[in-house]
């Protein structure tokens, strides 16, 4: 039924950031050329990935395998609708963040910029590799590459604090990697394959229930990048990284790789029927619900803007986990489209936080009184992002929450609907004070001036343009247009193939 097309396009898409990383290393003396490679690679990569969309929407799967690792495991890519959603998100946001990075890194005169751009490209290499990989082994390889390549970004500042964050990051994520490797190996030895298959590759026929349960826990620990509680604390700590890093990696690539993995595992390794049979859906949903509420409560207590955003990310990621854990078609659709929508909104928020940091040096919310009047565009964009997080109507966030809500109804689990609503309410509680402070609070005299007496203005154009684009897109997503349709269609496609419910 499903046609398969052999194509080199996944390889080309992967090759872009890999080649870029090499070129960047060798043009460290020429900043303009170096950043040029990044931009060129990001645009070509997005074009490559987007060119696969029509093929996939026709119901074809693009496959390309290089060699056989073990009998039944081939190293290579299998592009399906769901993977493409994640790949599009990562590669598109890479373009914007690259532009933003140029402004940010130059404005702050950051050191080791070559290392920064090189590792950034490698991280995207990992993320897109995860998105396109056709089986668990390939995915694991890229998953580890992502972990290693993001370490220099997290510890970029090289202060003791940043080094601590880097260590913590590695400690968490490498432990996760070990669990994931264990899980992958066990899956292979049980099922004899690790390919992602629509109906799942495990069943009660091939292993005792207890083994499957343990394996599930291994997988879950393996995808610690999803930052569900109580294994979340690496994420707020990692916020010492430069803001574009936090933006792309900690709101998009790294954490999304985690939730992406969980969705892959639930839908394509276990399969919806087996999840029902083992009762694992409700367990996963409870974990997600717990994280959604508690992380929001944590977020309220944070004064550092980036840390507050980090906790918001933790909470929002669990929306995705919850969506898939409901095991209903609507829920899974919601989860899948929340990946790009949340990506766009959260990146807007982070980019705004970065702009504020660059122009005013302020990191704490309490010091940001009246900053909205000094930086109107930035804070308008921030407001859009915040509204999206709360799921207010004219943003993409509304659509994904709508689907998630329908998903809870479809699964017949009203408790989780309540959890979604309460969590949205909490979102308002912690986002609104920021907007209020920015626009309406008194600036308190000198707070809006820098040390040298210069007035705070908008950030450089390199930074304002990307964040305006993401903010605009966050709104555009809520209206029918080709881009939204593409993502919705891809999600529908993925879910219809899954055929669960």
């Amino acid at each position: 039924m499903i046609e398969i097309e052999e194509s080199l396009r996944p390889w080309l898409a992967i090759a872009c950031p890999a080649l870029a990383a090499i070129f960047i290393l060798f043009s460290s003396k020429l900043p303009n050329l170096r950043e040029g490679w990044t931009l060129l690679a990001s645009i070509v990569q997005f074009w490559m990935i987007y060119s696969m969309v029509p093929v996939i929407l026709k119901g074809t799967t693009i496959e390309s395998y290089l060699f056989t690792v073990f009998p039944g495991i081939q190293f290579g890519f299998k592009v399906d609708a769901f993977g493409l959603i994640f790949a599009i998100t990562s590669s598109f946001l890479w373009i914007l963040v690259s532009i933003y990075s140029i402004g940010y890194m130059r404005a702050l005169r950051e050191h080791a910029q070559t290392r920064y751009y090189c590792c950034f490209a490698l991280a995207i290499f990992g993320a897109v590799g995860i998105a396109l990989s056709g089986n668990l082994v390939t995915m694991f390889i890229f998953y580890e590459i992502l972990t290693v390549s993001t370490y220099p970004l997290v510890a970029h500042e090289q202060t003791p604090e940043a080094l601590f964050a880097g260590r913590k990051y590695l400690a968490y994520l490498f432990t996760a990697g070990c669990f994931l490797l264990g899980a992958v190996v066990l899956t292979y030895s049980l099922a004899g394959t690790t390919d992602f298959d629509k109906g799942g590759i495990l069943s009660v026929a091939i292993a005792p229930r207890s083994v499957l349960m343990v394996l599930f826990v291994f997988f879950l620990l393996g995808f610690m990048k999803a930052a569900y509680m109580p294994f979340h604390s690496w994420l707020p700590t990692a916020m010492v990284a430069p803001t574009p890093v936090s933006a792309l990696l900690h709101a998009v690539a790294v954490v999304k790789a985690g939730v992406f993995g969980i969705v892959r595992m639930v839908c394509y390794i276990y399969g919806i029927d087996l999840m029902h049979e083992l009762g694992l859906g409700i367990m996963l949903a409870s974990l997600a619900a717990f994280t959604m509420i508690v992380a929001s409560l944590f977020a309220i207590a944070q004064d550092n803007l980036k840390r507050r955003l980090a906790y918001s990310t933790i909470s929002q990621l669990s929306y995705i986990i919850l969506g898939v854990a409901l095991l209903s078609p609507m829920g899974i659709t919601g989860a899948m489209i929340h990946i790009p929508f949340h990506g766009f909104m959260k990146i807007t928020l982070f980019l705004c936080a970065g702009s504020i940091l660059v122009t005013s040096g302020k990191e704490n919310i309490s010091e940001m009184g009246g900053i909205g009047r000094a930086m109107p565009i930035t804070m308008m964009a921030f407001t859009v992002g915040a509204l999206g997080m709360c799921g207010a109507p004219p943003t993409g966030g509304f659509i994904s929450k709508w689907f998630l809500g329908l998903g809870t109804l479809q699964a017949g689990n009203l408790i989780f609907l309540a959890v979604i609503l309460i969590s949205s309410l909490l979102d308002i509680v912690y986002f609104f004070p920021i907007i209020y402070t920015a626009f309406f609070a008194k600036s308190g005299g000198t707070t809006l001036r820098l040390n040298k007496g210069r007035k705070i203005k908008e950030a450089p154009l390199f930074m304002v343009v990307p964040l305006s684009i993401t903010a605009l897109l966050s709104i555009v997503f809520s209206f029918p247009n080709p881009f939204t349709d593409t993502i919705l269609n891809l999600a529908r496609m993925a879910v219809s193939i899954l055929g669960g419910g």
Binding site: E144, Q158, A162, G166
Partner: protein, 509 residues
């Protein structure tokens, strides 16, 4: 052509021995010649070993009767896939170290270049001899040639290195005694020293206590030589204070050739039937498991970079011996039999060779021994440090490096053997590797010097090692990744499968 290759096994040993002597003579007149003679010889040997491997793969084993004497009486050299494979590894690393040592020995031991290269060539002679021989007493002789030259090379720095060398000498000699006793026991029962002959004579005698004792003596004797965990105590000092290329050879080759000797004895002289008779390999697995964990834990406590790498070698010998221990119970393609063990031999040689050569580069450039002193080197010596990072993440087991492939294969083997504890041990060990290797990487790249705000100041003072040292280092580092992909792609697996087929360690489909 075929007849010429028949002579290669003995030629490989002979030209090495001849070159050791000619280095002495030539060095007498011109001090500049020894490195070139040595490099040329090892290069010739390396090419010969590749030809041998090719011949063995396509046409079958080579038998060479020394002096034309028939096997049970005369000494026989037998080269099958297993020796040929080990031979290629050892000569490749030998070549790399020879190229590397030219500049570094001129710097470190300017008075002793002649004797260094003469001994180095003797070491290679011993290593090649152990590998190609088909006679257990001859194997003992070559193990001693190799060890004696290693003792001298380790002590060549003088001072504290002499103590390290002496410790190794004492323990190594004890190990050799055990080995010799084992040979004596076997000889007293069978009256033969030829491996092939023994493998025919032994099966009816598997119940014999002498034979069993001989096997235990072999295990203990070789365990000392290969620094298998409880008997590893000579290794850290020897590795730490030897010249770095010798550390690389020690860690990458010498202890692994001893492992080869063990594999050869266990599977060629004895056989799988004997090994499954007793729970020896189960015990071996557990000791190896302890070795992996203890080696890594001890490595974490070290301040000296080379000592840390030395303890890491102890852990890695654990990996190899664990894989050997699992070899009789894992029978499914592609992780069947000795594949993981032999694979890790090559992988460890590449990784550890690279790491020790990098450590040597730090000593060469700035006399840096301790991890804490490595601050800011990431900028000063970018290529060397990049090589270190690649080799270190290979040790940790980040895909697609060689370390990852070894880890994966050993995990699969232990899963098939239903020994799940080892899966956990391997995963924990890769975390421990992360801890102690990342400490070095962090110091090299991330830690700032006192009072330094941005690392711009040291940016200009790039200070790399000479090209003749850099190329071996970078070559090994890139091979860490390239071989990883080759293993994953399964291109080199068939070689190892021939070994398994030879020893009957594979399910025939």
């Amino acid at each position: 052509m075929q007849t010429a290759i028949q002579h290669f096994p003995v030629l490989i040993v002979a030209i090495s021995l001849v070159s050791a002597i000619s280095i002495l003579v030539a060095g007498w007149t011109n001090k500049k010649t020894p490195p070139f003679i040595s490099i040329t010889t090892v290069l010739a040997q390396f090419v010969a070993s590749i030809l041998i491997l090719n011949h063995v793969l396509t046409k079958g084993p080579i038998h060479y009767w020394l002096g034309g004497w028939k096997p049970p009486w005369g000494i026989e050299y037998v080269v099958d896939v297993l020796n040929a494979y080990v031979l290629v590894i050892l000569l490749f690393l030998g070549l790399t170290c020879a190229v590397y040592s030219k500049r570094s020995i001129e710097h470190e031991l300017p008075q002793k270049t002649v004797s260094f290269y003469a001994l180095y060539q003797l070491l290679i002679t011993g290593l090649c001899g152990v590998t190609v021989t088909g006679d257990i007493f001859n194997m003992y002789v070559f193990i001693e040639i190799m060890s004696l030259s290693a003792y001298a090379l380790i002590g060549s720095r003088g001072k504290i290195a002499l103590k390290a060398s002496f410790t190794y000498l004492v323990l190594g000699s004890i190990g050799a005694c055990f080995f010799l006793l084992g040979i004596g026991f076997l000889y007293s029962v069978t009256g033969s020293l030829n491996m092939h002959d023994l493998s025919i004579l032994l099966p009816p005698l598997y119940g014999n206590k002498m034979v069993r004792a001989a096997f235990v003596l072999f295990i203990v004797g070789l365990s000392v030589k290969m620094a298998f965990f409880p008997l590893h105590t000579w290794l850290p000092d020897a590795h730490a204070f030897a010249p770095s290329e010798i550390s690389a050879m020690l860690s990458g080759i010498i202890i692994e050739v001893c492992t080869y000797a063990f594999i050869r004895l266990a599977f060629s002289v004895f056989s799988v039937n004997f090994l499954t008779l007793l729970p020896i390999f189960d015990i071996l697995c557990w000791v190896a498991g302890i070795a992996i964990i203890m080696g890594s834990l001890l490595a974490m406590t070290q301040f000296n970079l080379k000592r840390m790498l030395a303890y890491s070698s102890v852990a890695n010998m654990g990996y190899i011996m664990l894989a050997v221990g699992l070899s009789t119970s894992a029978k499914n393609f592609p992780w069947c039999g000795l594949t993981p063990a032999l694979m890790h031999m090559l992988n460890h040689a590449l990784m550890k060779g690279c790491l020790f050569l990098v450590a040597g580069a730090f000593i060469y450039k700035a006399d840096l021994w301790n991890i804490a002193e490595l601050r800011g080197l990431g900028r000063r010596m970018p290529y060397t440090c990049a090589a270190f990072v690649i080799a270190a993440i290979s040790m940790i087991g980040v895909p697609p490096s060689v370390g990852f492939v070894s880890k994966l294969y050993i995990i699969f083997a232990s899963l098939e053997a239903k020994k799940f504890a080892f899966v956990a041990i391997l995963l924990v060990s890769s975390l421990l590797n992360l801890v102690y290797f990342w400490r070095v990487i962090e110091t090299m790249y991330m830690k700032r010097e006192e009072g330094e705000e941005h690392a711009h100041a040291s940016m200009n003072s790039r200070d790399e090692i000479p090209l003749s040292m850099l190329i071996p280092v970078l070559g090994l580092a890139s091979l860490c990744m390239v071989m990883g992909v080759l293993w994953l792609a399964g291109i080199t697996i068939p070689i190892l499968n021939k070994v398994n087929a030879m020893f009957g360690l594979m399910v025939v489909r």
